[in-house]
Symmetry: C2
Subunit: 268 residues, 2 copies
């Protein structure tokens, strides 16, 4: 306990944040105790669950460098069972600060694995929390923040936009995961690839799907996430699409995906 | 000579590479001598103009560190008047390598401003080239690669996807441009904001447009780029959409945008 799942892809705009938020929400909805970690200086995951910018420090930067007990960086969200360690603008300087440090790849692993004694006074319930899952949202790069997440991870989820540039970057990402597994974190496993922004009417989407399933087989989830405008509307309301519009095709797709992921988790 | 335009936005997947390639192509089509620089380790701009992965070194990494005369890193593309300095996987290590260097923000400025004596033997024409424009594609981050580009730049173009997260990141980007202008590069100007992946049927697109025009006025170009599937098909053919499907709404939008940008350039 807890199991750490990292959502990563160096290609930008492929649905990392959207997948992190909606997967975490769906898992919380079925009774799992979930902690999200926003490791992207953009802070989109923090915005997507309604954390006001002024409420974001201490956050993931402080946890990464062990500045505060983890519990002080945890915020409750409006979603029952889902907490978050938010990202603030201090995180933008983290990569440069990590470069000269010894064991710079292990900072997050060391601090995230330390049991959060209590959820901070002002933040939450005040009693020790045993999370079932920690889900980490990464920035669009393979820099020291994403490397720290991969070193701390049990499993990696890769959202893959059904576009050519995204497909091209996939083999580079899989090689990087391999390198981390061999040199830093032998437990690291590719949990699966999620096809996102899928458009059935568009030949490119089908081509990318065919190619990825041929290349990776059942590492690619059966459930794909369609392009759905309700998904892109939800962040401006500070809510996951699962809450913003439960009946939308986007929300329903994330529910089916979460069920498939939890079935695979149960089989481990 | 030459004028250096940087295409930047830390938000991922907003159309930086697509804008760089199609703007550069449109400018070359009206007779400007253009050099693209791919400063993203993903190498999408290099792919988008058909540079094979094996043909990418020496590339932008070598130019950044002054390892080779710039001319040796320049490749001709299939588009008349358009050359590129491609990105290879060596660029992925550049940011970490720059951190301990003095004047780390000025590496690109120093090497890019040195006149390329000749386009390398094996690469191109062999005679000195006076480029009118150098257009730099940046990675989705505000790290040392993007900072090097902004320090070297005369002007910055900001592609803005018509989505909430992209809008949220805009003020942070504009603040960063201001900081670079004040501390490193007094010539730096925001050339303009380009609305990308615009969908007229979608209220979110119109809301983002209204908000950005209210906030930035005529810094936002009149011509917006619609979401158009032909744009996302072009990269798999190694061609800009202007060449892949000249009559498409995407290609026509980039032609109108290029005309608007060149009109503003002429007025400077
Ligand atoms: N299935 C979908 N349908 C429609 N829009 C989507 C979908 N998934 C994500 N989006 C929208 O597309 C944009 C990119 O998604 P998101 O921000 O989650 O990607 P990301 O990989 O986290 O981006 P970054 O690389 O910047 O971190 C967002 O504006 C989001 O609201
Ligand atoms: N107007 C458009 N209509 C449809 N698809 C588009 C449009 N512009 C870009 N795309 C596609 O959307 C994806 C993202 O665009 P692009 O790669 O140019 O963005 P980027 O900002 O360079 O991404 P990154 O942050 O990863 O560098 C690409 O697959 C591209 O082909
Ligand atoms: Mg994100
Ligand atoms: Mg790009």
């Amino acid at each position: 306990k807890p199991r750490i799942i990292v959502v990563a892809n160096q290609k930008g705009g492929v649905g990392k944040t959207t997948t992190t938020i909606n997967l975490a929400t769906a898992m919380a909805a079925v009774g799992k105790r979930v902690l999200m970690v926003d490791l992207d200086p953009q802070g989109n995951a923090s915005t997507g669950v309604g954390i006001a910018p002024a409420q974001r420090t201490p956050g993931s930067y402080a946890v990464l460098f062990g500045d505060v007990p983890m519990a002080q960086a945890i915020r409750q969200t409006a979603i029952p069972g889902l907490d978050i360690i938010p990202a603030a603008s201090d995180l933008a300087g983290a990569e440069i600060e990590l470069v000269p440090e010894a064991n710079r790849e292990y900072f997050l692993n060391t601090n995230l694995r330390a049991r959060p004694q209590t959820v901070g006074e002002g933040q939450g319930s005040g009693s020790p929390v045993d999370y079932d899952y920690i889900i980490i949202d990464c920035p669009p790069a393979l820099g020291l923040l994403t490397l720290n997440a991969l070193v701390a991870a049990d499993a990696v989820l890769v959202p893959l936009q059904c576009e050519f540039y995204a497909l091209e970057g996939l083999s580079h990402l899989l090689r990087t995961i391999d390198i981390i597994k061999r040199n830093y974190n032998p437990h690291l496993e590719l949990q699966g690839v999620i096809l996102t922004m899928y458009d059935r009417r568009n030949a490119l989407s089908r081509q990318v799907e065919d190619e990825v399933r041929a290349y990776l087989g059942d590492k690619v989830y059966q459930n794909v996430i369609p392009r759905n405008v309700r998904i892109s509307e939800a962040p401006s309301h500070g809510k996951p699409v699962l809450i913003y519009d439960f009946r939308s095709t986007g929300a329903q797709a994330y529910i089916l995906l979460a069920r498939e992921i939890l079935q695979r988790e149960a089989a481990l």
